[in-house]
């Protein structure tokens, strides 16, 4: 279907190489105007999707990084108390009635917009990235439900703020906590896998056009094989790119050319002590053998 290939091309133009499944999910999220929930291992490029999307739509990216203890004040809105106090102090000499002062200090001027309120009060649809939603508490998830289904926020002093434009919402989760069914049902869903060797090669070439193609092919295959090893933390795409950059920087043109350097540069890929120990020289040379 043309819309999908078109979307893939546009994503590729901003250096995001998407596969069919992901492109379909994105396309669907755009047409249906529904939030898209992305799950997958750390490092498969979930957050990057939102950035790429904002780039191709030329829309603002508003990001809400979730963490334990995130509350409505930090995510939706807060009154700027300091300014309100100053305003009250300043208006003491102006003989204004209490009602007037109250009306004045609870106006939009004194409202601090946090990401969620910010996202629904834009003129043009922004991309709203709610990152690592599984880190936030369940209570916050419940807040989010109202906003994601109705796109409106109620501020007691001001009234209900309805969205001026519906944001494109992307939620990501690493699966450290089971998300509620209610949230899942409101979202489209896509599970992002590690890319296959062809796609990974395309990603490397897209980000590093100067790299020798032979090296890029070997890097993609090597990382693919490495992920199949029994590692605590499988290397993500960012690690692959780091490694490819490191190898080019070290002047390696082919993996089988200089095993010692390759072994040393593996620190770009292996991020725990156990993994670094598990991938010995022998393992590396075997993997290089399969990649070459």
């Amino acid at each position: 279907m043309t819309a999908i290939t078109d979307l893939k091309d546009r994503l590729a133009a901003v250096h995001y190489v998407a596969d069919d499944t992901l492109a379909t999910a994105l396309q669907l999220a755009l047409t249906l105007k529904r939030p898209l929930l992305l799950e997958g291992e750390a490092g498969v490029g979930k957050t990057e999707i939102a950035k790429a999307l904002s780039a191709i739509l030329d829309a603002r990216l508003i990001r809400l990084q979730c963490y334990e203890g995130l509350d409505a004040n930090a995510a939706i809105y807060e009154w700027n108390y300091q300014r309100q106090l100053l305003a009250i102090k300043a208006s003491e000499h102006e003989q204004a009635s209490a009602a007037e002062i109250e009306k004045h200090i609870f106006s939009e001027d004194y409202l601090l917009r946090r990401p969620l309120l910010e996202a629904i009060s834009q003129d043009r649809s922004p991309v709203l990235l709610i990152d690592e939603i599984d880190r936030a508490d369940e209570e916050f998830e419940a807040y989010l439900l109202e906003i994601l289904s109705d796109f409106q926020i109620t501020i007691p002093e001001l009234g209900t703020v309805t969205a001026t434009s519906i944001p494109h919402v992307i939620l990501t989760s690493n699966g450290t906590r089971e998300l509620s069914d209610a949230l899942r049902r409101r979202c489209l869903y896509a599970y992002v896998e590690f890319p296959g060797p062809e796609r990974e090669l395309a990603i490397i070439l897209s980000h590093m056009p100067d790299i020798e193609e032979r090296l890029a092919v070997q890097v993609a295959r090597f990382v693919r094989a490495l992920r199949k090893e029994d590692l605590e933390k499988a290397p993500g795409i960012a690690e692959t790119l780091d490694w490819a950059a490191a190898l080019t920087g070290l002047g390696v043109t082919a993996l089988d050319q200089d095993l010692a350097t390759v072994q040393q540069s593996l620190i770009c890929l292996l991020k725990t002590e156990a993994d670094a120990k598990a991938v010995t020289k022998e393992v590396t040379s075997r993997l290089v053998g399969t990649a070459a």
Partner: protein, 393 residues
Amino acid sequence: MSSEATVQGAPVTARVAGFIDHLRLNDFSVGPAETQQALRVIETVGATDRAQVRQSLKSLLTGRHEEWERFDDLFEAYWFARGRERKGKASQNQHQRASASTPSIWSDHLPDSAASGLGDTRRGGSDEETAGEAAGRVVASTQKALAKADLRHVADPDEIAEAERLAYRLAKAMRYRLSRRYRIAADGPKLDLRRTIRSNIAHGGEPITLVNRARPDKPVRIVVLLDVSGSMKLYSRFFLQFVKGLVCEWIDADAYLFHTRLIRVTDALKDKDTVKAMTRLALMAEGFGGGTRLGECLRVFNDRYARRALNSRTVFVILSDGYDTGSPDLLAGELKRLRKRVRRIVWLNPLLGWRDYEPVTAAMAAALPLVDHFAAANTLEALRQIEGDLARL
């Protein structure tokens, strides 16, 4: 695809509704709202490109990784009748529906083989291996079910009640407050000064609304791994009751069975109907009487479930006799990995209650230094005795 549907004489809407129904029977959380959305999606995408429609519906109708992985098979099975388990097609379909809606009645009256077909024939289309690892979904053929240990005999009310009570008491004994940190609590005993000041800025700094804090009473999480291999046969029935008691009574408990594979059974155990739960378990414990690969099962656990199932307040209970056919090194290695993630590892071994038993099997010897508490568990009495020990842990 939908052209096929119309050729068969059924309008697309009915076929799509049927598909949603099919998904629901396979434990997807979808409803009428999804039917409408699915129709809308098919309309926008156009019903000509099969792959496109499949991917769009996949994104729309799934909500978690397990569903995401099973969707393609289910899609094929419904629209193209290519499911692996669907030899009987239409007639079997009827049966599946009936069994799915009235399971508890059937399970009391049907012979074992038929009853154990319950709830699982409907999982047509998923392959045995992956299904077994994904949250206890196992497709079992009827022949295997016949040979399976009949767990229903343990459904003696007194024994169940006793095992469940005991499980709860043990869990309670392990419960203790681990939190040193204070959190906001409406009727907490202490004043949270920082937050009080913060929330009273709006009142010009006058402390009008007070914010209290207290130490949260965080119950420990209990994760149980129950060995159902051949050597444990005599005990596993009883322990299943015990584990069921734990899962049903305790707020935060997670249970797994293992023999040569590891299966998560928490959801199956939560079934209120004991007979039905036991029947489901009998199906899951397929391979009952086989060998044990403790090390490998622990590795599966560490790789797959650990991140979600464990936290620093977890007591990890292994119920096994330690007769392991795998390598002891692997077991020790995996236990070491596990230790980093949990609070305590408790190993309950039914054989320990026997006279003259020494934990000398290679696996047991390798595991012992890594276990925080090692105790006998061959009788209710023995379990009762460890209550005190666990409280002290």
